[in-house]
Amino acid sequence: MFRSALRGTLSAGFMVAAMAAASAQVLEIGADLSPTGLDPHLITAFPSFMVVNGNIYEGLTAIDKDLKTVPSLAESWTVSEDGKSYTFKLRSGVKFHDGSPMEAADVVASVKRLLSKDIASPLASRLSAVESANAVDAQTVELKLKEPSAALLSSLSTIAIVPRSMETNKDALQKTPVGTGPFKFQEWQPNGYILLSKNDAYWEKGLPKLSGLKFNIVPESATRQVGLTNGQYALLPNIDAATALQLKGKPNVKLAETMDLAYTLIGLNVSKPPFDNPKVREAVNYAINRQEIVDAALFGAGVPGGPLSPALKSWALDVKEFSCYAHDPAKAQALLKEAGITTPVAVSMKVLPRQDIKDVAQVVQEQMNKAGFKVELINQEQGQFIQDWRNSNFDMFASINAGQPDPDEYFYRTFRTGGSTNVFKYSDAEIDSLLDKARTLTDQAERKKAYDQVQKKLACSGPVAHLAYGTLFSAMSDKLKGYDVMPNRSLMMLRGASY
């Protein structure tokens, strides 16, 4: 009693001292994994995105907290009648961290860099519709498209604008990024931390409020938690439910939550038995108990999910619309019998090396084993997993994918015949024509109708059994103000945060 009173007095004293220094602080962030590189056109994983996107670099557009596309480096834009030409008016007075002005030539160079075979950017498919980029004048850029692309503006938010001098440079940006964002790169101690400092010349006056961001790489979850409760770290961004649950109610710690765009999934290879048969894929859906997965692996913090995240309120269908989402092992067995398959049918499942996915995989294994399957789990390291994924070298896999704000960004490359991430070898004429049509539609209601059909068809017999969308949390010191967790895991809001 006395001790806690004393502690209260002490911390009150510290608070006075801290307030004097408010906002001039470097925010200590506890991050779980080390980025492998910082080149915004080459990175593929969350740990890199988190540091780079919105903090060091910006795109022509940005995605806000409600997943709406808003202006960023482009102040405004116009779209031609046929939807094949976009004209962007650039914000004036924007400077790169090296002091050079950001102009149309830089935007053109960035688009060219992204699309160049030599750079081989994994993001290139997001701009696959772009035919050419031209600088009309220093402040105006025109993008010409091969075909209309409804998702273009949303996709552009993830395409960082880099200085024109970097167009053919493959190595420099991996180590020392140069962007236009509110924070500039200061120091990278590999496996230790990445330090960003305030960009005093940032175009939005008065921002950022913090004097810097320090991403401490702390691989152990327990270590991160202790670091937050003892005040060594002020923010643990984008944590899972298990971590959030453990930090709930700890003194001086507050939690923020939102519905995650990222989803857990089971991928099925439709190019070989048994999953080449739509009935078997349907059986998988009946075998899976999604609510149990949410309860077990997500600690109840999440919802069973269809092909689109419920966070996409204007697009996603309610899972009640999907008949095969009712958990029914007997029905699964019956479907397998109908498909002429002797049970139990042995299949292997490759597992992405993350604790939550390993747990999801173990739960799914148990569920499927009760419904006529015999699942063997194959745990791999990241590199091997991704390679097998890309080479379609799997029966099934369990993984987590970052979702996108526009349905086209996910559906087209994943389920269209020959799509760039259609590793399932899925090919369906009806889905193809719906996807082709939907990306050229500009009327929201008509697009939604097309995507409703796509969702219904994909949910039960598609190559992916979507499992669940988790609640995404961030845990932070209660002194951190003005930051909120975003569904797409961006830390963009840190520019307006103070501590």
């Binding site: 080390s34 081989a120 991996q174 496996n191 270590t223």
Partner: protein
């Protein structure tokens, strides 16, 4: 003396050569196309990028030539550049070497300094229940998983002294107190098995020495017990003690790899585990080679010092 030294030097070179061959062959033993697997961590590859990486790793040449090129540049301290970050591999290793060295050094110091009094105590109370208890304690110390101990210590500390900064790493040159504060728990976790091992060694060496004629003589001459133990016996006990310190370094490196993971210390362990996740084989190769070579050379130097100290070995 010189001839013995020369023979040892030849041994050293042979071992280093053998180590380099094994490490070199490692990447060639990977089933399948190593380059394709390495690129697996990147999502989009073109045949040009494959060919470029092939050239960079040197897999397109005859194997003897590959080895000579690799070993040749390795001798000059050039291990190429890291596949993904573009930083020189030698720099990556150097950056990550210091925290591990510091951790290893501190654990060794803590273990060795405490081992002498603990070992003496154990030798003096030999026989009886106290001796058995101490032996059991020492074995428990030896077999306690250091990573588990680390986690338990972090948890206990977080409830006892919530504001004690115990995680991460700051270089000693930046903030000596902060550095030692953060290194305290991991070094203790790592030092416990060292302490257990070395104190047992001190104990048996002391018992050995106590049985020797000159100690008996000294005792018979009426010198007080304490001075007998410390002056005569301890001096002899220190020689096996020193040699086993050399062997301990190898154990410590392994332990450090796991403990670094728990305490968020950016050392060699984190480097090599990260490299495995990314399938960055050249980095794994270079790290194993450099650390093992360092380890072999340290042991050689310990042997050499030992020879200088103890003339009996020279024969």
């Amino acid at each position: 003396m010189n001839r013995v030294l020369l023979a040892r030097l030849v041994d050293l070179v042979v071992v280093l050569f053998g180590v380099s061959v094994i490490v070199f062959l490692m990447i060639r033993l990977i089933p399948g196309d190593a380059v394709a697997i390495m690129l697996g961590a990147n999502t989009e590859i073109t045949p040009e990028r494959m060919a470029e990486l092939n050239r960079r790793v040197g897999l397109d040449r005859p194997i003897i030539e590959q080895y000579l090129l690799w070993a040749g540049s390795g001798l000059r301290g050039d291990f190429g550049t890291s596949l993904w970050t573009g930083r020189p591999v030698a720099t990556e290793i150097l950056i990550h070497l210091w925290p591990t060295l510091e951790l290893t050094f501190l654990a060794l110091v803590i273990g060795a300094v405490l081992a002498v009094p603990v070992g003496c105590l154990m030798a003096q109370t030999r026989g009886g229940a106290a001796d058995v208890a101490m032996r059991i304690g020492a074995i428990a110390g030896l077999t306690i998983p250091s990573f588990w101990l680390g986690i338990v210590m972090i948890l206990l500390l977080s409830s006892w002294a919530p504001s004690f900064a115990s995680l991460g790493y700051v270089p000693f040159s930046d903030d000596p107190i902060g550095n030692l504060q953060r290194m305290l728990l991991p070094s203790i976790a790592l030092a416990l098995p060292i302490l257990a091992n070395l104190s047992r060694l001190v104990r048996s060496a002391m018992l050995d020495a106590l049985g020797q004629d000159y100690v008996r003589t000294a005792r018979a001459k009426g010198l007080p017990e304490r001075s007998v133990v410390y002056k005569h016996a301890l001096r002899n006990a220190l020689i096996p003690f020193l040699t086993s310190v050399g062997i301990m370094t190898g154990y410590l490196l392994g332990g450090a790899i796991v403990v670094e993971q728990v305490f968020a210390i950016p050392g060699l362990g984190r480097l090599i585990l990260g490299a495995i996740a990314e399938r960055n084989y050249p980095l794994i190769q270079a790290t194993i080679l450099v650390v093992t070579a360092g380890f072999v050379i340290v042991n050689f130097l310990v042997d050499f010092l030992y020879m200088l100290v103890d003339p009996r070995v020279r024969a």
